[in-house]
């Protein structure tokens, strides 16, 4: 029983991190039709800058941790906004070239991170409470998972409120459904594109800091590894669907935890789940109809 609870909560904690990466990816794809390979780079950049700030302010203090979260989100947001504005937007509506650009950027920037921070993992420490455990139903759950879950829920609520309550949110929702009709109403969707990249980048940067605490390290490949799971999550959840991304994140991560524990092949279980979803529901759990 305690094992099940532990796997469940750590699974949801991992799902929280997946969600922070996948939410932006899914919205970017839904609105712009762009598969953003550079999304993992936003995450890694957030994680490294967060780590640098925390190290300077005292990694074990709460102030240092809070600052690292803030800086991580900010770093991801700025990097993403610049990427959209200066690279992706130059190739407006040319989706394949846009994907290629993000692939090239990811390649170049990961190499740059290698050069700056070295290829070896940097080990992370946070406030001592974070690495202690809390006992729930007999399971000793690492506290950092709770932090990840709470922050992911906060991000989810914030994005939902933004999408439901603001004009830009409305433009984004409408654009995911039918981008060309939005432009035919006289709206310049490019602003919404930059915005959605920025939001996605902030979520990814935040996810980077949390991931580095959950895994205990940060390395230049951190984002690329998570990115692949985030891709799987977005396909399973349905491209363009925020709710789908949230549900699929938890589903994928929990399945992965259980399969890892009982079978040893968590990654395969996830890929099998992906294959099943693609065979039975090609547009994903909550996706709009997939078009090329």
């Amino acid at each position: 029983m305690s094992t099940v609870v532990l796997l469940l909560i750590t699974g949801v904690g991992l799902g929280a991190i997946y969600f922070l990466v996948a939410s932006g990816l899914s919205l970017i794809y839904g609105l712009m039709g762009v598969l953003n390979f550079a999304h993992g780079v936003f995450l890694t950049f957030g994680a490294f800058l967060g780590w640098e700030v925390a190290a300077r302010m005292g990694a074990t203090t709460w102030a240092g941790f809070a600052a690292s979260l803030l800086v991580g989100a900010l770093a991801g947001a700025v990097f993403a906004a610049l990427t959209e504005r200066f690279l992706v937007q130059r190739l407006y509506e040319r989706h394949i070239e846009q994907v290629l650009i993000t692939v090239g950027l990811a390649l170049a920037v990961v190499a740059l991170f290698d050069g700056i921070w070295g290829t070896d993992a940097r080990f992370i420490s946070g406030p001592p409470w974070m690495s202690r455990t809390t006992t729930i139903a007999g399971a000793n759950v690492p506290n950092d998972r709770f932090v990840a879950i709470v922050l992911a829920v906060v991000v989810l609520v914030a994005i939902v409120l933004f999408l439901q309550r603001t004009r830009y949110g409305m433009i984004i929702r409408a654009g995911v459904e039918n981008r060309s009709m939005v432009t035919a109403l006289g709206i310049d969707v490019r602003t919404a594109f930059t915005l959605i990249f920025t939001i996605g980048g902030a979520a990814a940067g935040l996810g980077g800091v949390l991931a580095s605490h959950a895994f205990g390290y940060v390395s230049p490949m951190l984002g690329q590894t998570l990115l692949i799971f985030a891709f799987i999550v977005t396909v399973i959840g349905g491209l363009g669907s925020l709710t789908g991304a949230a549900i699929a994140s938890v589903l994928v991560a929990v399945l992965q935890q259980f399969a890892n524990y009982y079978w040893g092949y968590g990654d395969f279980a996830v890929v099998v789940l992906l294959a099943v979803v693609v065979l039975t529901r090609p547009s994903g759990l909550m996706g709009k109809k997939v078009t090329a």
Binding site: M170, A174, E177, A184, L185, G186, I187, D188, V189
Partner: protein, 261 residues
């Protein structure tokens, strides 16, 4: 009501639009357009008169929708497209709409996940007044169903949302593509009435299969065949010519109800 046209246009149109009431609001010359690597509009010339309804007719698949999309900049196009004498053939879609081109697409294209009110709010254009009074007077149902998701509306109600989005703003011209497609006869009448009111506010380029509606509303017609404009002229003259309607539309003018297909 509209922003005054730049001086360059005053020169081309003479002493400005008011002095030449017959100058077309929209002028299309030698339009070509392509979709998915295929040329679907070969050569279209058309003019939209400064008042009233100009109908764009033709059998299924001749390129009516594509012509309208090309004017909106939604598909690749080349040729001359002038709005009030100003070239809009290279502008991006949102700027074309911003200059006062209202668009009601063939399949309504309401945002199904947004509420009716949100659909209308999204259509509000900056620098234009928003005529909710007119819209709600024409379609009182939309006011009652404001909080309903547009995707759950009936086809007729969705058509109203789509028309309302275009009527909400001050427009120089309205491009309306088959507004009565698939509607019950009573709704066809209702939509036709709304179109008549719309035409009082702004000139309309109307694609319509229901020739009775065309007869009631349109003053001019342009007829397409295989991506080319082949006939321009007075609407009733054309509809009264059984040979021409039979040849170009495959129907007898005015007698055949909704949709020859």
């Amino acid at each position: 009501m509209t922003s005054s046209p730049p001086s360059r246009d005053a020169a081309t149109v003479g002493a400005g639009p008011t002095a030449r009431p017959t100058a077309p609001v929209l002028l299309v010359r030698d339009l070509q357009a392509h979709v998915a690597g295929q040329q679907v509009v070969e050569h279209v010339d058309l003019q939209v008169a400064p008042t009233g309804v100009t109908a764009l007719l033709g059998r299924n698949g001749v390129g009516k929708t594509s012509t309208i999309k090309a004017v909106m900049g939604l598909i690749g196009r080349s040729g001359t497209i002038e709005l009030d004498g100003e070239d809009i053939s290279t502008l991006p879609t949102f700027r074309i709409a911003g200059r006062g081109v209202g668009y009601v697409p063939e399949d309504r294209e309401v945002f199904s996940g947004l509420t009716v009110t949100e659909n209308l709010r999204l259509a509000e254009r900056r620098g234009s007044e928003h005529r909710y009074d007119l819209v709600y007077e024409l379609f009182p149902e939309l006011e009652q169903r404001g909080a309903q998701a547009a995707g759950t509306l009936s086809g007729g109600q969705q058509q109203m949302v789509s028309l309302a989005r275009a009527l909400l703003n001050d427009n120089r011209v309205l491009l309306i593509d088959e507004p009565t497609k698939g509607l019950a006869p009573r709704l066809v009448t209702e939509v036709a009435e709304a179109l008549a009111r719309a035409a009082e506010v702004a000139p309309v380029l109307l694609v319509e299969q229901n020739l009775q509606v065309v007869r009631d509303l349109a003053r001019h017609v342009v007829v397409l065949t295989d991506g080319r404009s082949v006939h321009h002229g007075d609407a009733s003259d054309f509809l009264d010519d059984p040979v021409a309607t039979q040849r170009l539309l495959g129907v007898h003018g005015g007698t055949d109800p909704a949709g020859a297909a």
